[in-house]
Amino acid sequence: MKSVLRIMAVMRKEFLQLSRDRLTFGMIVGIPLIQLLLFGYAINTDVRNLSAAFADASDTHLSRQLLADLRATQVIDLHNRVATAQQLKAQLDGGDISIGVYIPEDFDRRVIERQRDAVQLLVDGSDPIILGVAQQLTAVPIRFDSQVSRRERESLVVVRSYYNPERRSAVNIVPGLVGVILTMTMVLFTAVAIVREKERGNLELLINTPVRATELMLGKIFPYILIGLVQLVLIFALGWYFFEVPVRGSYLHVLIAALVFIATNLSLGLLISTSARTQFQAMQLTFFFFLPSILLSGFMFPFDGMPVLAQRIAEILPLTHFNRLIRGVVLRGTDILALWPELLALVLFAAITMSLAILRFNKRLD
């Protein structure tokens, strides 16, 4: 009973302080808003309008037909014409273009003979995404008897896209962003909340009172759980409003996934706070954890494409599991129980970090 009273006391105090800390208050709303708009509009893996140039040495009806077809794909913006392949290379070197199209003098004959390559695409392959786009361009048909080819099957494989038929990146990004934003704000807020007390000397007073480590931690965590939920609602509301991202699964399941994930991040924040001496250190440690989370969790790059070692590391990161959970529930409408291994991983992570934090938070100074 006394325990509950003390937890309530810490909570009430934390709320009072939060309501007076305008910067933190601003961050609670500002971070989701700005990041959602930024990532939602800026990150686009569906590449269009790459700058390109061409050198057409044959200048025949067929070559012009090919160039028109390439323009029609809208993947490249084939705006300027140069005389030679060397000039294309120079523009590529200068970073003016990402793709150069070279059509040789004997283009027509090569097409008819179908023995040698008829067209060359000069690609800035340093960016794998652009290389991938260039591969798409090779599918453009080049033949004289174009009427005939229409009837022939170009490929026997057909793609049927589920869950995101319009290929909008935002649909994939927004649920992922929930995890990214919660990781950033929840870990940072809690870590800083305790370290701040250490820095300002409040902790020296607190550890001389009967308040227990567990009570202090719980009292500090609860207000931030609430803040996490506010952010969750905010992100989905904005995602729905700006990017028409649907929530296909049950809201209850989204809530469960988010609550477990928030608890995971808060306990990690507490663990960080027991090691950091200053708010700056707490921030550094948070970012040490945040960066791999963003890059390896499958938020930015598909998980399966990563090397095995990176995948192993990613399995340790809570964000990886949350991404699978939230994308499953939100985009595919999966039942959360079907994703139980991810849920279990999060619960385990939270339990371990929380225990470590409580063990490490000593009420003694040595």
Partner: protein, 318 residues
């Protein structure tokens, strides 16, 4: 045995704390009687704070035992916390909460009964003269107000034992006087107070005190006992040219220290030196320095210099 033990709020034997190779507190024995103001006097880094922290159970002693209000500081640190009030060197309440909110928070942390909480907080606001500031943020208070608030918070749950770690380092003399009035009131009501300070005037006001130097307890007793028990004579020399007199006196046999106070010099000479006064006078006369010398009662500052500074004065070899 039990009878004698209960006379003391704090007993410690051989209390030692090492941080790596640094010995912060070295074999300190303490007996702090109940209902008294007990002072820790010592320069910065003499181990005052470390000793207090060990007594509160915040630091584990490297060696030695301490018993606070009948409880062992190693094993019963948590139950000691209900019984003590602690005022930190630095203001440690919340700057962004109001005076009232800070006190309310502390009353909740000590789980005072709901009906009693607001009553007690109101009582403290009145008692510590903080009523006009009750809605003001603690961060905007003056040094004296902050200190009153901190003491109010430390005494909120009416602890029988108070630890005050250099409580007056950031306040003006008037506030210090008021503060000490408060401490005497509390002692009157039966509270034992352990206060650390590096101010002589404050140390003089304690019922009893221990002088700490480089982690060791070099003297303890009441201020009067300490002054009388000193093994030095204090000779006060009043001179027109104190600097010249100082140069001359430093050559006198056995002089331990010379402290200048305006036109006067306080000269410490061991009691075992015979005819110290005559020697001082003779030496001044030989040099033709116009000065008068008289023996005076040692004060606490002299005691402090005698017990701590003696071996740190290479210019006057003994």
């Amino acid at each position: 045995m039990l009878e004698t033990a209960s006379e003391f709020a704090i007993t410690a034997t051989g209390l030692t704390k090492k941080f790596g190779s640094l010995v912060a507190v070295d074999q300190v024995d303490l007996k702090v009687p109940k209902g008294r103001i007990y002072g820790f006097l010592g320069p910065n880094g003499s181990g005052k704070s470390t000793t207090i922290r060990m007594l509160c159970g915040l630091l584990t002693p490297t060696a030695g035992e301490a018993c606070v209000l009948g409880k062992d500081t190693r094993r019963e640190a948590e139950s000691i916390k209900q019984l003590i009030g602690y005022m930190t060197q630095k203001f440690s309440l919340y700057d962004d909460l109001s005076v009232l909110e800070n006190l309310q928070f502390v009353s909740e942390i000590y789980t005072l009964k709901r009906s009693y909480r607001s009553l007690r907080v109101g009582e403290l606001l009145e008692e510590f003269n903080l009523k006009p500031q009750s809605r003001q943020r603690a961060g905007t208070l003056s040094g004296g107000q902050k200190q009153r608030l901190a003491l109010a918070a430390a005494t909120l749950h009416k602890p029988p034992l108070l630890f005050l770690d250099e409580p007056t380092s950031a306040v003006d003399p008037q506030n210090r006087r008021d503060f000490w009035e408060k401490l005497f009131d509390l002692a009157e009501q039966g509270t034992t107070i352990l206060v650390s300070t590096h101010y002589m005037d404050e140390a003089t006001r304690c019922h009893q005190l221990a002088i700490l130097d480089a982690g060791r307890k070099v003297a303890d007793g009441s201020p009067q006992d300490l002054s009388e028990g000193i093994s030095f004579r204090v000779i006060e020399v009043e001179a027109a040219e104190p600097n010249k007199a100082r140069g001359c006196l430093s050559t006198v046999d056995g002089v331990i220290s010379i402290t200048q106070l305006g036109m006067r010099l306080r000269v410490l000479i061991p009691k075992k030196q015979r005819d110290a006064l005559a020697k001082v006078r003779g030496s001044l006369e030989r040099e033709g320095i116009e000065a008068s010398a008289t023996e005076v009662r040692p004060d606490l500052e002299d005691v402090f210099v005698a017990v701590t500074g003696a071996e740190n004065q290479p210019e006057f070899p003994q």
